[in-house]
Point group: D2
Chain length 296, copies 4
């Protein structure tokens, strides 16, 4: 298939590579062009403008860092005006339900289809085609991008006809993940302040009730007090928690746990930790409790 | 070994049975005597007073519902005065670190040893000898009760010489569990208010990042909206979250997530749900968001 | 002076009247034109488009309900393009600091001045020229609108050269007010649940430490359990608390109390109370505590 | 009247002096005896044991720092056993509703009357007989202590026959005060992080909607960033907020704002600020927001 790929960052790059390797024809664009270089060597055509990348593409994949970047690359840049009629915008980034709804409408007006397909997984999983992909949109469009999704992930989770539903589900999952991290952070700091080392606590938790990747991975990071380089930065986590809070604001619905995490992330970023992994929430909890550093 | 077993409720009964079956000699006491009946048929000697049960016992196991009941059964009742010198109090209930410290001191004065050994697991796991047991206390005493612990659980987690450390760890784990449940509840209500059914959300969550028993069990309950009979009641959960908050109060340490769960449980209990499973936190989150009942 | 007045709702209408009475020449616009009618009788010229109102005006006063309405009336409508060079936009509504910054920039490009002058007070105070007005902007522009502000309020609080600073201060005040109301609500519900009537509590509070208008007014409303008609609706309060949270999000800064109020207002609105006075937060606190209705 | 006065600290000392000056006969006890010295010079009889102070007294006033100290001085010390039949215990300290209920019962058994009469005001107001006194208990007993209360405060607020109701009301007021301080702290930090100085903000707030002592006093302290010596220490504030949370726990009732204040006070105390005035909550809010120190 002829594919345009917009956004070749930490996640987009390995995904685009996988599409190339599967045999698709790829034109790629990234705001910082240099980061797309490896794709050229692998056979992709690079463009300096997103509008140039999409010309003639059957599917336009977007994997950009937030709502603003996505809107800019698709709409303000004129890319959607340059897109071929009947082509499909496949938005795989974590963007707001509100943007998904807006883009669905904009695409419809231009005779395009918008499919939301946000993913669960980090760069390693993207590279290994192990992503979980939540997909929602018009059935024919979803069916057409099926082979692409299969080339990118281990499992596709259909979420119905309304694209924004996929975004809601992705936001729910990330909300839960952020709370799980903050919960590890607070419980560990309470332990440290009460004579239990983070090491002992994490070992127990991650071998009993919380024997799942989320707790094991962040638990290990807290045990080692190692938050750099970031797997997922505090700044990105902040963006995602705010997506959940904006969804709640518009519902309207209370969302008390999310607000607690938001505040802790704001504190982490304000104190200079925006580029650390969001597991560094443990440092904020420790500072608040004046707890000693973990004894390993 | 000659064992006194105080507290034969949902958890204590199957544990006491297992000790009998393993060949130990058992005298048992329960405030509501009738609930200990099945043990008599299995060969235990029942007593009407806790002090009578402990006479001559080498190990006094306590599995009572809270601090007050434990203090009453051991101290106010005169049981510790009746206990044989050098016998061991093995407290397996979820009590406060503060009580563990107080009982350690009281036991020492009387020439007894106090070992804290709180457990992770529900009645089914107790019956199946699948409990995880966190144990802390004087090494000789811990070593002496080793065979008992092996008869009761799948794994023993040593937590050092200071008994209260085991309580802190148990409280940390239950704190995390309570937050996990509330996080499912809030995320599900947000979804319902935004067009995503609890069923779809739970299915996704429990097969991806949250593929561990905690989330799977409570997720399924929320999907079915079934909270009775309670596996673990809101009232018991309230007790445990308050144990965490008391630990934090005394540290002192902030504990923001726990306060959110506390408030939701207070609301659940105030509205008449104290005997429901604490998974019914989902109902509170739904009511707050005026979200529709789950569509399954 | 020749003044254009955009937005003649609950607040704008009495303010516009006062300007007319002071002798200013007024053209007025309101989205729902009928609501501006009383101004026509008082001598104002009404227009159907905001762009028509601003033509030839020296000062363009805006008093619209939120960011979107303000942006629409000034920018999207073409009003700023129709405005006379060197005229002043005097924004007296409670809008975001972000919008103030954006409008400052947009005005500058067109050779206009933007002055932010949000007000403290309700419709009664607006009618009685008793508003407090926080004003910030370029000194010459602020000085030029001085006579207008004097005609509208009892006191002007200068807040410097940067317009958005006035918005920040207004948002701070409203944040504190929202917390004060929620604090009355929670304390009253706690009392009701513990045997103290809201009446007794409010009487004590409003005659001792909290003898100021905020607590006295909302205390009396809670005592009477009367929240309709709204002096300031839950929906408007929700808007303002969200302005504070957006400011915090962008700072970034934690803002824990605001999140608590946000959640309570979301619950009030979700349960159908969006048009009630935000003092009805007391009903939410009472429902959460399953507290009895106040015994007067 | 013959009065025993237990607890002559910051508050108790000026109150006891006022009773002496009014012509009452006073025996006084304080844990740290030296602090009662000034009373001896004024004509009081000092005792080394609380039980000695109460012998022969018609009214036993207690003004101790918390529940434990009160229980110790009255019950564990044997003072209530030494008290003359029909004498009245007049508890003016801020203690829990739970303790008031327990002491009411204990006093009844001994033929004594327990009257709860907690006060609003700081040491200066105690010295100036400007306290507000909330009083509850059996009508005859309340009537008998009337002259004493008139000698101590500016106004007496009757709260009914059940002593603990007075404690509930006192706890409600202190809860609101703690929230008001935290609200000033968070709003000021948000301002600092957004370009508005604490000075400008406090000046506006305390001259408009929040023109009452609570906000003016703490606002001025935050403006000056001066929290030592403490008027009311963080540690004492922590005690009071926890009284509110314990009341809520037992109700049960949610109490979200109180939890936010609790966490901030815990952080303040954990970082070494327990003896600072609780207005130092502003420092915690500033640290969390990494906001600059106030520019005055």
């Amino acid at each position: 298939m002829k594919i345009a790929f917009l956004g070749t960052g930490n996640m987009g790059l390995p995904m685009a590579k996988n599409l190339l390797e599967t045999g698709h024809e790829l034109s790629a664009w990234n705001r910082t062009a240099a980061r797309a270089k490896p794709l050229q060597d692998a056979g992709a055509r690079l463009t300096l403008a997103s509008a140039d990348a999409v010309r003639g593409a059957e599917v336009i994949v977007t994997m950009l860092s937030n709502d603003a970047a996505t809107h800019e690359a698709l709409v303000d840049s004129g890319a959607l005006d340059a897109a071929a009629r009947a082509s499909i915008v496949l938005d795989m980034a974590t963007v707001s339900a509100r943007l998904a709804t807006e883009l669905t409408r904009i695409c419809e007006k231009r005779g395009l289809a918008y499919v939301a397909a946000p993913v669960l997984g980090r760069p390693e999983e993207a590279a290994a085609r192990r992503l979980h992909i939540i997909v929602a949109g018009a059935p024919e469009a979803v069916s057409k991008v099926g082979p692409l999704l299969s080339a990118l992930g281990q499992k596709v989770w259909p979420a119905g006809d309304v694209p924004s539903r996929a975004n809601v589900m992705k936001i729910q999952i990330n909300l839960m993940l952020s709370v799980a991290i903050q919960s590890l952070a607070e419980a560990a700091a309470l332990g440290e302040a009460s004579g239990v080392s983070t090491g002992d606590f994490v070992t127990l938790a991650s071998h009993t009730l919380f024997a799942c990747p989320a707790y094991q991975g962040y638990g290990a990071a807290m045990q080692a007090a190692k938050y750099e380089p970031a797997g997922f930065s505090a700044r990105n986590g902040y963006k995602d928690v705010n997506l959940a809070l904006e969804l709640a604001r518009d519902a309207p619905a209370p969302l008390a746990l999310a607000s607690v995490v938001r505040d802790a992330l704001a504190e982490l970023i304000a104190s200079g930790g925006g580029n650390k992994d969001w597991g560094a929430l443990a440092e904020i909890a420790r500072r608040r409790a004046a707890a000693p550093r973990p004894t390993r």
